[in-house]
């Protein structure tokens, strides 16, 4: 018996002597510490036999009033299960007399967990050691009370080839641990154990961190600017600083600066670290400087590719009062007809003033513009025909 208990004992003993001296009612139950689930009853010796007493009980779950069972001059208060099943301090006070008879009981749980409440979050973290997830374990007894402080909990982890176990002690009813991400990406399986009770398996995904700079490449069927074929751009395998391949779906923006300084744009998402994007060949001779970005994070070096001119001349024929303008044949690099869909623009000017632009597409190498006499009245017009970056200007065409 340590000194604290000795003191308590003497104190109680003094009370025990004092009470009968002053009053008719005193506590005869001496036990103050119980385990959750025990049957708890408080007995009082009652000499007066006159008034009816009740016991007011309160713990962290609520309060109640208990009426006693009488056994001759002994009053027995049976604490109901919903209170005796909960750990914590139980305060009690006798009601029905003018004396202030009160006290408290301590209810603790057995260090024998029957269930482990485990939470892990967030379920995905980034590799590299900055990001972390927290695991929280609450071992509880059969009555759903957390087991006492400083109980042991083992956190078991499997990651790649390694498996390890770390022991933590519960504090303030829970056990917790911050799990910092390792450098490789992968899946970590986690489980917990407390006094031979095991949790189920939990998953923590370690995702790759942000990418590092990369390279960009291209692939195309021919070098000509025919406005029809497709060039594919792709990156080297993009990895993070720990050499993990970045997550699938990472968005890479490819910016293309052309010979006029204009910015074209295509994009792709990575699969196994490689982002692929495609773009249609330009209509005209071009030099492209291609640089790909993961905005704010990484970029490629500049890739330069050139496209050779395919259409060297635009044959134009005026007929029917100059109102039917036939453009073609538009010949490509092997003297073949240019594939359908080449854009041909016809701009109309009158006295230096821009009137309208008509855009047509080539079909079988030809395009016909019909100048509507109801819209464009007879007179002199300047006509510009542009296709594949070739422009032909007819300063003064008389429309009849």
């Amino acid at each position: 018996m340590n000194s604290k208990h000795q003191f308590l004992f003497i104190f109680l003993w003094l009370i025990a002597i004092a009470i009968p001296a002053q009053d008719s009612l005193f506590l005869i139950t001496e036990k103050k510490d119980f385990y959750a689930g025990d049957t708890i009853s408080l007995s009082f010796k009652n000499k007066s036999n006159t008034s009816s007493y009740q016991l007011f009980c309160t713990n962290s779950y609520g309060s109640t009033l208990i009426t006693p069972d009488k056994n001759e001059d002994i009053l027995i208060f049976n604490i109901p299960q919903f209170i005796s099943n909960k750990t914590g301090i139980l305060h009690w006070k006798l009601i029905g007399n003018n004396q202030n008879i009160s006290g408290k009981l301590s209810i603790t749980s057995y260090r024998k967990p029957t269930s482990l409440e485990t939470y892990i979050g967030p379920p995905t973290i980034e590799a590299g050691g900055i990001d972390y997830a927290m695991i929280i374990v609450i071992p509880t007894d059969s009555l759903d009370n957390p087991i006492p402080e400083n109980s042991k909990v083992d956190v078991k982890r499997q990651f790649l080839q390694s498996e390890n176990k770390q022991t933590i002690l519960t504090k303030d009813l829970i056990g917790y641990l911050n799990i910092f991400s390792p450098t490789p990406s992968g899946r970590m399986l986690i489980s917990t154990e407390s006094y031979e009770l095991n949790s189920k398996e939990y998953t923590l995904d370690i995702l790759p961190a942000i990418g590092k700079n990369f390279k960009v490449f291209h692939e195309r069927d021919h070098k000509y600017a025919d406005g029809n074929q497709i060039t594919t751009l792709y990156t080297s395998i993009i990895r993070d600083k720990n050499n993990n391949v970045v997550s699938d779906g990472t968005f890479v923006d490819f910016f293309i600066t052309n010979q006029d300084g204009n910015i074209l744009n295509t994009s792709g998402t990575t699969i196994r670290g490689i982002a692929t994007a495609s773009i249609i060949h330009p209509d005209c001779e071009a030099t492209w400087n291609i640089k790909a970005f993961i905005d704010g994070i990484a970029n490629s070096d500049v890739l330069q590719i050139s496209y050779a001119k395919v259409i060297h001349k635009i044959p134009v024929k005026f007929s029917e009062d100059n109102r039917i303008i036939t453009v073609g044949p538009l010949i490509s690099f092997m003297e073949q007809m240019i594939p359908d869909g080449l854009q041909i623009e016809l701009s109309m000017y009158k006295e230096g003033k821009f009137l309208n632009k008509i855009v047509e597409q080539s079909k079988d190498g030809f395009t016909t513009f019909k100048i509507n006499p109801n819209i464009y009245k007879s007179g002199n017009y300047e006509i510009q025909i542009t296709s594949a970056c070739n422009t032909k200007i007819y300063k003064s065409i008389k429309l009849w």
């Binding site: 939470y119 990001d131 779906g249 910016f255 744009n265 998402t269 249609i280 704010g296 869909g341």
Partner: protein, 1029 residues
């Protein structure tokens, strides 16, 4: 006197049950109102004594509509379901109507045969058929029917002072009051007051020998003598009107109707809008129109003088906006709230007794003799045949109107939707229907889930709805920009209303749903598309409701049925007693005032003939005009109108028939060309206005400028096209246009992409989702954000990036504060942001603060709707600070990113270029998001452009964009300390993932432009895929 059953009446009742009893099953459910009443009935069936319904408008009081009809349906539904209640009540109401007409006619004509004729005619009366089978206004019919039953009792009371009639009349009137509130109020003016006048006339008549001898002096004398009883009665009726539905009046006081006027066809000018004229004037009048002079002649005879006055007033009021008189009579306010079709209905009902009388005289009375004598028997038969055919024809035409020109979408099988709402706690959120028509009420009646929309607009409370002249959000496309704009507001800030699910029966709304950040779930088995918005909190378990006193609820629940029971005791029980010969039957007083049916006035016959000829000429002329206007190839203008209408209604065969046959464009080729053009304009646009002007015309060739306005779900499109038309053998044809010829290089091509699937709950359980099944919210970073003022409107602009490893669906909510930290406005980014971001993808955004965003919503909503219009507010209310809340959730849909900016040309006022679709899906609506940067490459403004055409796979689309005007953007605040991501401070979350961000990384690839204020732009793309494959 031997009592004989009136065989006409019996015939009428049997015909009524047979005719209406069988046809309602094909018409009633597609009427405008029947399902609304059904919804109310469902409410009473569930909670008889509860005035509050949470199901519509985020909660409203059902005390806004008299309850008797709804409660009766609700009570009947307990036997055989809601629809059983609806149909049973409709049959009961029809019988009440026919018998009511009989009694009212007997009162007026004092002749059982003519009254029998009237009841027979009432069965097929086109106004009744229309009100029941097209409008479905059961309470209105119920009200007027009971009122007609009450009129003879009122007469008897006023005439005799026998207290028996006092009670019968008041008991019947109270039933009228509890079934429909407008009927007794106007019925008082238009039916009871003239009846009082008639009683005075009749009493005066008894003091002299004929009506002719009644002079004003005598009339006034009798008026004075009977004044006390009459005025007491009128006052008592007023007490009934107020008392029986007292909670209704209290509710109207408590929740005054703040709704701005919603346009209604009955207020149109019928000569301008012919369809309204047909529905609200021609149909309800029908054959009665030919006999108007007879009715007026009869009603303006001395005995019926007051009826005559009321009758003419009803006719005039029923003409709506055709003449200014109704507006003057009713005043602006009442004119805009009331639907004026009811006046025509009452006028036509008021004329029924005389119509019966006319029929009697025509079939077997003096008119027959007169006509036969003057024109011969054949003419009499011809006229009779004509009238009969016309009369029945009108009834059949009216009945079939809903069949040939459906006012409602096809009947929707609600079961899959109801099941969807019931499963997986989907009813914890609000839903919205789109394109359901009035069937949305039927869905509401079947589910516990609530909606922000509703179908009884007088009960609305949300200022977002009451300030807009729209009927329902559900059919907002029919209300032009105002309608679409209101819908957009709900779609943009759905979390304000806990709106998570949208059931769409109309693909028209798909683009706006997508661009507002909604995503598709698998289609339901009835073909309804379900759209869902992520990050919407569920409804709280306790919702706000307006409380009323307990006595109001009890009164509301008990009084209507009590009135019916009381009326039954007073009116029906004596009938049994009479039937059992327990008491001798006293013939009613009004039977004493028989009419003389022996000499039909020749003048009236003549006038009526002239009138009928006039009506026929007007009708023929109208038909001719209609033909000229609609003969599609008579003039170039008609061709253009017909062609665009055909395109609008997707009648491609008709459209093709208008194309120049010499162009050898086969229908197959035409259809093929149509089928490959997808996009905003060809798939999601509704023609709003068309204006064509002839630029040049020769005898056989015309060039026209066609200006069209299209309402699309996203924006209004104004288009100008030039069309050439040629004349071939008196008909005009359209010269077809060339189609694009672009050929893609690859026949078959492949593409790899990363797809995602979210398991949701891994276990099959109805429990709450397990902790470990919940995905982490993706980390998104706000890279830059600024509060700016552009012209008169405030906006938050900026740039965000998904820095996580999973695709994110994002919601950005901006809030504006003034210097005193008072919250001024809050709104979400609508379409000026990419709502779905792949890992590491960047998007610019702009949050506009539209009308409803502002706290002082009511003051700030502009009168004329324009979603971009900003309301200037007082000086101390100027925003100076902002807060930005970004919420992200893992999304696996709508992640299409294969749009390529393949060419670009910078011009002085804008730029043009081509977009290339490099992926495997057809892009339906491409959107460009254009960010403007200053000389120092700092973000200044965000603009956008929707392209009207779609882009097929491996095809290009040419676009043209004009720069914004030279208005300076004022940068008000760049402080980003109040930016939060998933509830955490922006800086903290980004530090963990991108600690060493390369700032201004892509500045080197900004596009240089020629603009006086801005030096650079960046173009981002976002694509709506209409049919994901």
């Amino acid at each position: 006197m031997k009592v004989v059953s009136n065989k006409y009446l019996i015939c009428a009742i049997l015909l009524c049950i047979g005719f209406h009893g069988s046809t309602i099953f094909f018409t009633l459910e597609t009427t405008y109102d029947a399902l609304i009443h059904l919804f109310f009935a469902g409410h009473y069936a569930d909670n008889w004594f509860e005035h509050w319904s949470y199901k519509w408008y985020t909660g409203f009081s059902v005390m806004g509509y008299p309850p008797l009809v709804h409660q009766s349906m609700g009570a009947l539904s307990l036997i055989g379901g809601l629809k059983f209640g609806l149909f049973t009540l409709a049959i009961i109401v029809s019988i009440l109507f026919v018998t009511g007409v009989y009694r009212y006619s007997l009162l007026i004509t004092a002749n059982t045969t003519t009254a029998g004729y009237s009841s027979l005619l009432a069965v097929f009366s086109s106004s009744f058929v229309e009100t029941l089978h097209i409008f479905g206004q059961l309470p209105s019919i119920m009200g007027i029917s009971i009122l007609m039953h009450a009129l003879p009792e009122i007469y008897s009371w006023l005439k005799t002072g026998n207290y028996k009639y006092f009670f019968t009349s008041l008991s019947l009137l109270s039933v009228t009051v509890t079934s429909h509130h407008v009927t007794p109020i106007f019925g008082m003016v238009f039916f009871i007051l003239p009846l009082v006048g008639m009683v005075i006339m009749d009493i005066a008549r008894e003091q002299v020998n004929s009506y002719k001898e009644i002079r004003l002096q005598l009339f006034l004398k009798v008026f004075g003598k009977t004044f006390k009883r009459n005025i007491t009665f009128v006052l008592l009726v007023l007490v009934l009107i107020v008392g029986c539905i007292l909670p209704y009046w209290i509710n109207s006081k408590r929740n005054p109707i703040t709704q701005v006027p919603i346009p209604h066809g009955s207020r149109d000018n019928f000569l301008e809008i012919l369809s309204s004229g047909l529905v609200f004037f021609l149909i309800p009048w029908g054959v009665l129109l030919f006999l108007l002079p007879y009715f007026i002649y009869r009603y303006f005879s001395k005995r019926y003088l007051f009826f005559g006055i009321c009758f003419s007033m009803l006719i005039i009021l029923g003409t709506g906006g055709t003449t200014p008189i109704p507006k003057m009579l009713l005043g602006d306010n009442a004119f805009n709230i009331l639907t004026l079709d009811r006046f025509t209905l009452w006028a036509s009902i008021m004329s029924l007794p005389l119509f019966g009388e006319f029929a009697y005289r025509f079939v077997e009375g003096d008119l027959k003799e007169l006509i036969q004598r003057k024109f011969g028997a054949v003419y009499h038969r011809l006229i009779g045949g004509f009238l009969a055919v016309f009369f029945l024809g009108f009834a059949i035409f009216t009945l079939s109107l809903g069949y040939f020109r459906p006012s409602q979408p096809q009947k929707i099988n609600m079961l899959p939707i109801v099941n969807f709402l019931n499963q997986d706690q989907h009813d914890q959120w609000r839903y919205l229907t789109l394109g359901f028509g009035d069937q949305m009420a039927w869905l509401s009646a079947q589910t516990n889930a609530t909606t922000v929309d509703g179908n009884y607009h007088s009960a609305r409370r949300l200022p977002e709805l009451t300030t807009r002249p729209i009927e329902r959000l559900e059919n907002s496309k029919f209300k032009g920009v105002a309608g679409i704009g209101s819908l957009q507001q709900f779609l943009t800030v759905p979390e304000k209303y806990n709106l998570k699910y949208i059931f769409s029966n109309d693909k028209f709304y798909d683009p706006i749903l997508y661009f507002c950040g909604w995503q598709r779930l698998p289609q339901l088995e009835n073909g309804i598309m379900v759209w869902e918005r992520l990050n919407i909190p569920p409804l709280s378990s306790i919702l706000p409701r307006d409380g009323v006193h307990k006595w109001e609820n009890i009164m509301w629940g008990i009084i209507p049925f009590t009135t019916v029971i009381v009326a039954f005791i007073f009116n029906i029980l004596p009938l049994f007693r009479n039937g059992l010969r327990m008491k001798p039957k006293v013939p009613p007083e009004y039977l004493k005032f028989q009419n003389d049916y022996t000499s039909f006035s020749k003048t009236v016959l003549k006038v009526n003939h002239l009138w009928a000829a006039f009506v026929i000429i007007v009708m023929l002329y109208g038909t001719y005009l209609f033909y000229i206007k609609n003969d599609s190839q008579r003039s170039p203008k008609n061709v253009i109108t017909a062609y665009y209408n055909a395109l609008d209604f997707k009648q491609f065969k008709t459209a093709h028939s208008l194309i120049d046959p010499r162009s050898n464009l086969t229908i197959d080729q035409y259809m093929l060309e149509i089928s490959v053009t997808d996009g905003l304009l060809s798939s999601y646009a509704k023609l709003d206005a068309l204006k064509s002007t002839i630029l040049k015309k020769t005898d056989s060739l015309v060039t026209m400028e066609v200006k069209t306005n299209w309402i699309t779900p996203l924006e209004k499109i104004n288009k100008t096209e030039y069309k050439t038309l040629v004349k071939l053998k008196r008909n005009w044809f359209l010269v077809p246009e060339e189609k694009e010829a672009d050929l893609p290089p690859d026949q078959l091509y492949s593409k790899n992409k990363t797809g995602y699937f979210n398991q949701g709950r891994k276990r099959i359980t109805t429990e709450q989702t397990h902790h470990e099944d919940i995905l982490k919210q993706p980390v998104v970073e706000i890279i830059v954000a600024k509060l700016v003022k552009f012209k008169n409107s405030y906006a938050i602009i900026g740039k965000i990036q998904n820095i996580d490893n999973t695709p994110a669906d994002i919601i950005i909510k901006g809030t504006l504060y003034n210097d005193q930290n008072k919250e001024l406005a809050t709104y979400n980014a609508k379409h000026l942001v990419k709502h779905k971001l792949m890992p590491k993808e960047v998007s610019s955004f702009r949050i506009n603060f539209e009308g409803i965003a502002w706290s002082k919503t009511k003051d700030s909503i502009p009168k004329k709707f324009d979603p971009d219009e900003f309301t200037p507010i007082e000086l101390e209310e100027q925003p100076t600070k902002f807060n930005l809340q970004l919420a992200a959730n893992v999304s696996n849909s709508d992640l299409y990113k294969d749009h390529v900016l393949s060419n670009i040309n910078i011009e002085s006022k804008g730029l043009n270029g081509t977009i290339f679709n490099s992926g495997l899906q057809e892009i339906t609506v491409p959107q460009l998001i254009i960010t403007y940067y200053t000389k120092n490459k700092e973000i200044a403004w965000v603009d956008h452009l929707y392209l009207n055409q779609g882009i097929r796979q491996h095809r290009k689309l040419y676009f043209d964009y004009r720069f914004i005007e030279n208005s300076i953007v004022d940068i008000i605040n760049v402080d980003m300390s109040n930016c939060y991501v998933n509830g955490l401070p922006n800086e903290d979350v980004s530090y963990k993932i991108v600690p060493n961000r390369i700032t201004n990384h892509t500045n080197e690839v900004l596009q240089k432009i020629h603009h006086p204020l801005y030096d650079y732009i960046k173009i981002e793309m976002n694509s709506f895929i209409g049919n994901p494959k």
